[in-house]
């Protein structure tokens, strides 16, 4: 295995050189070329893997011929039935059918015989490089050695414990598919294939991470996706030079454009139907092995407000719900700030009686409204975070304790006014209306600076915050596209699928925003 270490810091480099020297001293240097002798190849594998308890080495003889063979695999990543029934048994016993006719197998035929007549597995690769073979072994395939040959046979016998396909946890829908992506890349690609049988749907895979060698698949539909977009995606993926890709969320941060922002610039989705819909709009989907979230490239801000459900319901209902989500996003960001501003500076804005009753409930509260608001907002964020971390059974209890008891007790204790509890609850509920979790949480963080602005400048401060947020959102570019499309720049065609969702029969063309090559989605004839 190659040990690749790169560093730009010269100090680091010295340390690493030392380390490398000490390593080469203590362990034998292994040449990566394969030899004809099986013993040597076997030892090369052992040099790497003998310390690992999950590595399995098996030496055996081919039929009656006495030709040495060996098998190397990692226990737990492999389907043992395949190894036993399709590799070992045919090679050890069933191969001897050939031996009755021509006596014993000649050593020169052994390799071909094994490849063509013994190993009864469909997915087979040959390799002449130890480096490559090692990668296959580590990703769950079996390496088969035959004495006298410089090649290895890699038998695909992958089979490890996986989580079954289950309901997407973060993006539930009422009417719609109930399956979500899992941690296994292959299962995920299969989920996509099942939804789109077009052979033009291309699933390309590259390995990222110097050490983790994580499979990263990028998927697109030839003939819809803009080649320029694809080029850019490929370029950005290839540029990544890191030891490990932790998850798709990690990858997202490595390829996004704007780094200083709470707003995600790629949509992460657990739903295969969402991913397919995005593919059909000419976008590129990235799947990362070990991560049940697919990334959508490019993503616009408006997409965070879309849910597959919108397309399953009648357009009137869908439009209503979608506009509700936009209103909710405003509520989630601005309600506490506006409350502070109105209570502190502009009580004339609201009806006099309401203003009076707010003032009455606030009479016993010892803090200015900003302290009150920050206190309560932090409490609710704590509740939310603890709810996400706690086991499900306790989570509900905590919800009741936190929500009902703390809320009520805080009011009774005179720490906060009932109106503030309403405001905080409203923000919390509103922020969960937004279908994309990471966008919702990004938006939610914005309300704290807004609250401070409101405390200083009243509604002027809220407006300043609104302007800043808008400038920021508008200035974000994601993969050569404006993040706020179709609002800014206004693309009138795409407004069909923005706050209002047009009737299905009216959405004849794909959205312009991702610049697909093929625009026509539906033939109205």
């Amino acid at each position: 295995m190659k040990i690749i270490k790169r560093s730009k810091n010269p100090k680091n480099k010295e340390v690493m050189d030392e380390q490398q020297q000490s390593m080469t001293k203590s362990e034998d240097c292994v040449s990566l070329d394969l030899s004809k002798k099986i013993e040597e190849n076997y030892e090369k594998f052992q040099a790497f893997l003998k310390e690992s308890s999950d590595a399995v080495f098996r030496k055996f003889k081919l039929g009656r011929s006495g030709i040495n063979c060996a098998l190397v695999y990692i226990d737990g990543l492999i389907d043992k039935n395949v190894v036993h029934d399709s590799i070992l048994r045919p090679m050890m016993f069933e191969i001897s059918h050939f031996e009755y006719e021509e006596d014993v197998i000649k050593p020169s035929d052994a390799y071909d015989l094994v490849l063509n007549h013994a190993v009864s597995v469909a997915d087979i690769k040959e390799t002449a490089s130890l480096d490559e073979a090692m990668l296959y072994v580590m990703s769950g395939e079996a390496a088969l050695m035959v004495d006298g040959f410089e090649k290895l046979i890699i038998v695909s016998a992958r089979g490890w414990a996986t989580r079954g396909i289950s309901d997407p946890q973060t993006e539930g829908v009422i009417r719609g598919a109930k399956e979500g992506f899992t941690e296994t890349l292959r299962t995920n690609t299969a989920l996509l294939r099942r939804k789109c049988k077009d052979p033009n749907m291309v699933i390309k895979t590259i390995r990222l991470g110097r050490r983790s060698k994580t499979d990263v698949a990028y998927i697109y539909i030839k003939g819809i996706t803009n080649p320029k977009l694809l080029e850019e995606v490929e370029e950005r993926l290839i540029k990544i030079d890191i030891d490990q890709i932790i998850s798709s969320g990690h990858l997202e941060q490595l390829i996004q454009d704007n780094r200083i922002t709470p707003i995600p610039q790629l949509q992460a989705t657990e739903r295969p139907d969402k991913a397919i819909a995005n593919l059909m709009e000419g976008r590129v989907i990235i799947l990362v092995d070990n991560s049940p979230f697919a990334l959508t490239i490019p993503t616009t801000f408006a997409q965070f407000f879309q849910s597959p459900e919108d397309y399953n319901e009648r357009w009137v209902v869908a439009s209503f719900i979608r506009s509700l989500r936009w209103i909710a996003s405003f509520l989630a960001v601005f309600t506490p700030a506006v409350y502070i501003a109105v209570v502190t500076y502009h009580s004339g804005l609201i009806p006099t009686r309401l203003a009076l009753s707010i003032a009455a409930t606030r009479a016993g509260v010892p803090f200015p409204s900003i302290i009150e608001a920050v206190l309560m907002e932090i409490t609710i964020e704590l509740l939310r975070e603890s709810g996400a971390r706690l086991p499900k059974a306790i989570g509900q209890t905590i919800g009741i304790v936190g929500g009902l008891i703390i809320g009520d007790a805080a009011v009774n204790a005179g720490l906060t006014s009932p109106i503030m509890v309403i405001v905080v609850a409203l923000t919390a509920i509103a922020s969960f209306v937004i279908p994309t979790y990471s966008a919702a949480i990004g938006l939610r963080t914005m309300r704290f600076p807004l609250m401070v602005l409101a405390a200083f400048f009243g509604l002027y401060g809220v407006m300043l915050g609104f302007i800043i947020i808008n400038i920021h959102l508008v200035s974000i570019k994601t993969f050569g596209m404006s993040f706020m499309t179709p609002q800014a720049p206004t693309i009138f065609h795409d407004l069909k699928d923005f706050v209002i969702r047009a009737p299905a029969r009216k959405m004849v063309k794909r959205p312009v925003q991702s610049y697909p090559i093929d625009m026509i989605r539906m033939d109205m004839e």
Partner: protein, 363 residues
């Protein structure tokens, strides 16, 4: 990689022109109109709007002869190097002064109407910082921001217009045009300043995607301000009569104050809050123009470092006037230099045709 086409779209041109010309003045445009034309204020405002529209089209015609240059460069081509540079320098000083004037007018209005105890300086500095952020993003950020702000600004002003329309008493207009058309035209000349802001078209063309349709979108961009200004004047005079209108400091706020809903007791606060957007947009555009004029005058391309130099200057000019009358003087200076600038588009166009500079054949 750029998948999306670069540059300013047609709709963005309209939005930019519309929001640049609305801005600060919307608060007191009925007063100006009533001062200059009395009962015929609305008509005069409309006439001034039409005049501004004509100037707009002249500016676009002129700019289209030099599609890849801003006024700073092509004025040097048309007028010669020195005269052109002088014109550019006037442009720079003018835009900077206007931004100071807007900033000061804004801060005063905020202090009077919304935040009586907040110091002027704080209001101004906060606004300038945000403008700095926006201008720093370049014309694409500016135009996209404008696009988003167009709707709320138009909605809130439109609501003020609509909800007051039913209270307009038409008998107040009985003596309209009693002295013929002449006072209207005279009054219109005084209102023309209110529409200023479309000077951005002197600068915008090099960044526009579809240069052929700029004329259309530029003229469309003038429509909202014409409707709003003449409409507000009409409503204000129709409700308050011309004399009280001309004496109110912010007649539009007075109109907004008359509206009340169940849940928003005072619509005027609501109005002011959204009007901040309008002021922000016009301030941004003037500072952008100032920055780009200064940069191009020196002969550089990247204007971004210069904004930070211009901001303190803008602030200093804005903080300078001590009282209302001094602000009025600042306003007069900006108005007349603005008139000078926009009227210069006519000789510039004629000269460019005579001297055969620019255009399709002579580019």
């Amino acid at each position: 990689m750029q998948i999306q086409q670069k540059g300013v779209t047609g709709f963005q041109v309209s939005a930019t022109v519309a929001l640049s010309s609305i801005g600060l003045t919307v608060l007191f445009v009925p007063r100006i109109a009533a001062e200059h034309a009395g009962i015929d204020g609305a008509l005069a405002a409309f006439a001034a709007g039409i005049f501004s529209m004509i100037i707009t089209s002249i500016i676009i015609l002129l700019s289209k002869r030099f599609p890849n240059q801003t006024v700073i460069e092509y004025s040097q081509q048309i007028l010669g190097k020195y005269l052109g540079k002088i014109f550019g320098a006037i442009m720079m000083v003018y835009t900077l002064t206007v931004s100071s004037y807007i900033l000061r007018g804004f801060a005063d209005a905020m202090k009077i109407l919304l935040l009586p105890r907040t110091p002027l300086e704080v209001i101004m500095i906060c606004m300038l910082l945000i403008v700095l952020y926006c201008v720093h993003g370049g014309i694409s950020t500016i135009s996209k921001t404008f696009e988003i702000f167009l709707l709320p600004v138009l909605l809130v002003i439109g609501a003020t217009l609509l909800f007051n329309l039913s209270d307009v008493q038409l008998f107040r207009f009985r003596s309209s045009l009693s002295e013929g058309i002449l006072p209207v035209i005279q009054g219109a000349s005084g209102i023309t300043f209110s529409y200023l802001g479309y000077e951005i078209l002197f600068f915008l063309l090099p960044f526009v995607q579809d240069k052929q349709k700029v004329m259309l979108f530029g003229i469309i961009g003038m429509v909202p301000s014409i409707i709003i200004y003449s409409g507000l004047t009409f409503v204000a005079i129709g409700i308050l009569d011309s004399l009280p209108t001309s004496e109110l400091m912010y007649p539009t706020i007075h109109l907004a104050r008359r509206i009340g809903f169940e849940f928003i007791e005072r619509f005027d606060i609501f109005f002011i809050v959204f009007w901040i957007l309008a002021v922000f947009t016009s301030l941004t555009i003037y500072l952008y123009m100032a920055a780009i004029s200064l940069t191009r005058l020196i002969g550089l391309r990247n204007y971004k470092p210069f904004i930070s130099i211009l901001l303190p200057v803008c602030y200093s000019i804005a903080i300078l006037p001590q009282n209302i009358s001094e602000i009025g003087i600042l306003g007069l200076i900006t108005n007349y230099s603005g008139l000078f600038i926009i009227l210069n588009s006519i000789p510039l166009l004629i000269l460019s045709i005579i001297r055969k500079k620019g255009g399709v054949n002579n580019a």
